[in-house]
């Protein structure tokens, strides 16, 4: 029985990686094989020409790639820096309206991006008109909502809550201020939470689509997650090679951080 189940789950797990393997192997195929009627998985010949052409002719590919890197990195760093302070306050400090504000943060996690779309757009437009800072059609329009998304605060707060109050009280008695407690006591303990937030935020923003198609009008500012489409309609071969290059960083980060995912995903269940 155990063997049958093992074979079964092995086959199922292959179905899950199949689209990824397919994308990898197609990236080495010749154009005629990619365009074949049926689904081909093993390349007839090992062809690196499309990778070569990305590096040589498609300097623009890397421009879009770097757009994605820039957006993702800034959003991750910003969300963590801002989130850590807020999470600590929500979990371990008292201030008026704390619980109510936190409930609003949780509700915001549940909403899809489109719900606050128009008002969001209008607020950014207003900032442009009043302060004369152009935000729409720049990366800032994507970065700001990303940094201030309440998900990071929610996730980190659940972890900080798990730290016993005694530890924090002890540090206070020793004369440490809240800032010192946050950096010397809390931060080392919640490192795994920070890593899991990095991975989850990375996954979300490496596949950034909704914000870009609304806030960005200039094609050259799009992240690669959206622009890959145009490569597909331009040249299949190059598309698969470009897709693989875009998958690789995600795979590396994911495989390295797999263990932290569990912490990040299960913490929401804690009361």
């Amino acid at each position: 029985m155990k063997k049958i189940l093992l074979v079964l789950i092995f086959i199922i797990s292959l179905l899950y990686v199949f689209p990824i393997i397919y994308t990898f192997t197609n990236s080495f195929m010749t154009e005629s094989q990619i365009n074949a009627e049926n689904i081909q998985i093993i390349p007839d010949e090992f062809n690196l020409q499309q990778y070569y052409s990305i590096v040589t002719n498609k300097a623009e590919y890397f421009k879009f790639f770097m757009n994605s890197v820039k957006l993702t990195v800034i959003i991750i760093v910003g969300q963590i820096v801002i989130g850590i302070f807020a999470a600590f306050a929500f979990a371990k400090m008292e201030f008026p309206g704390r619980d109510l504000i936190f409930v609003i943060y949780i509700l915001a996690v549940l909403l899809p991006f489109q719900v606050t779309l128009v008002p969001n757009y209008l607020v950014l437009d207003k900032i442009h008109r009043v302060l004369n800072i152009k935000i729409l059609d720049t990366h800032i329009a994507i970065i700001l909502p990303g940094i201030f998304s309440s998900f990071g605060v929610f996730l980190l707060r659940q972890f900080v809550r798990g730290i016993p109050n005694d530890i924090i009280e002890a540090a206070r008695i020793d004369g440490a201020g809240y800032g010192k407690i946050l950096f010397k006591v809390v931060l080392p303990v919640i490192k795994p939470a920070v890593f899991s937030l990095v991975i989850l935020t990375f996954i979300d923003n490496w596949n950034l689509i909704e914000q870009a198609i609304i806030f960005i009008d200039t094609p050259s500012k799009l992240p690669l997650s959206v622009f890959l489409e145009n490569i597909y309609y331009g040249d299949y071969k190059v598309f698969y090679a470009g897709a693989v290059l875009y998958i690789v960083p995600a795979l590396l980060i994911f495989i390295k951080g797999e263990d932290y995912l569990k912490e990040g995903l299960t913490v929401g269940g804690m009361k």
Binding site: K2, L5, L6, I9, F10, I12, S13, Y16, V17, P19, I20, T23, N26, E37, I39, I82, A86, F88, A89, M93, F95, P96, I101, Y105, L107, A108, L110, Q114, V115, L117, V118, P119, N120, V123, L144, F148, Y178, I203, W206, N207, I209, E210, I213, I214, S225, V226, L228, E229, Y236, F239, A243, Y246, A250, I253, L261, K262, L265, T266, G268, G269
Partner: protein, 274 residues
């Protein structure tokens, strides 16, 4: 006095987050209410519920609502069942680590990169479904493919926390595996299932990414979702329609979430935990 300082300090810590969050989320959400009862985005005349009424009468909205409800109604229970069964098998036979890795990998794969594969398999090269009336099947499959991993991780963590004594006691009592599953494991895992449900609802909105990449702003009408409707109303500058639809959407989500939390509380009381 000291306490007061401590209190205001807490406020200081959340201030950066709260300012940004308010400007970008809370204020827009409240301001949107005004749009939803105005004649248009450019004319503030109060029209009460006219926009809501118009939205509910519009074919596009009803199509989008129907498709979204159909998608959620099928995909959410299905993925919960599938991920629970997979987690159970992996847990019980102690499957090698790479199997779990294979199943969770898709969550890290950007929609645009696998669009080539899905176009081929569900379009020209394999089962030509994406342009037919059965396109929803494709969307459900892609959703399950991408999101099983999240639920699997949560279920595996939940299963590993089950108390072994209870399960062993039932074995001594002579319960077979399926009795044990039905009467002990499933009830004990319910809080995890509720949490999986919430995560799944949040993830279900992200299926828009995959549909948009495959078919753009105006997809096959069978997979035209609320997010398409809202994006397109935005593009048409019909802000009043968009905000009305957004509040209907938000209300449905909150009701869903509330029911799940309520169910969770009730269940916790029943099994004597809190």
């Amino acid at each position: 006095m000291l306490k007061k300082i401590r209190k205001s300090k807490g406020f200081l810590f959340i201030l950066p987050s709260l300012i940004g969050f308010s400007i970008l989320y809370i204020i827009p959400f409240i301001l949107g209410l005004r749009y939803s009862v105005s004649r248009s985005g450019f004319d503030n005349t109060f029209v009460a519920f006219k926009n809501y009424n118009d939205v509910f009468k519009s074919n596009a909205f009803n199509l989008a609502l129907k498709n979204t409800a159909l998608f959620m109604g099928i995909a959410i229970p299905l993925i919960i069942i599938i991920s629970f069964i997979l987690a159970l098998i992996i847990y019980e036979i102690n499957a090698p680590k790479f199997i779990k890795l294979f199943i969770i990998l898709p969550m890290a794969i950007p929609s645009g990169t696998v669009a080539g594969f899905f176009r081929k398999v569900f379009g020209t090269g394999g089962f030509n479904l994406i342009n037919t009336e059965y396109a929803m099947i494709v969307v459900v499959l892609i959703f399950i493919w991408r999101n099983t991993g999240y639920n699997l991780i949560i279920y595996l963590a939940g299963l590993s926390q089950l108390r072994k004594e209870i399960i062993e006691a039932s074995m001594i009592d002579g319960a077979n595996y399926f009795q044990r599953l039905w009467h002990i494991i499933i009830p004990l895992i319910t809080p995890t299932t509720v949490f999986v449900g919430i995560v799944t609802i949040i993830n279900s909105f992200k299926v828009f990414k995959d549909i948009f990449i495959l078919q753009g702003n105006y997809p096959n009408p069978k997979i035209y979702m609320l997010q398409h409707y809202m994006n397109n109303k935005f593009r048409d500058l019909q802000y009043e329609k968009l905000t009305s639809a957004a509040y209907v959407f938000a209300a449905v989500i909150f009701v869903f979430a509330f029911l799940l939390f309520y169910f969770d509380r009730k269940h916790a009381r029943k099994v004597g935990e809190s």
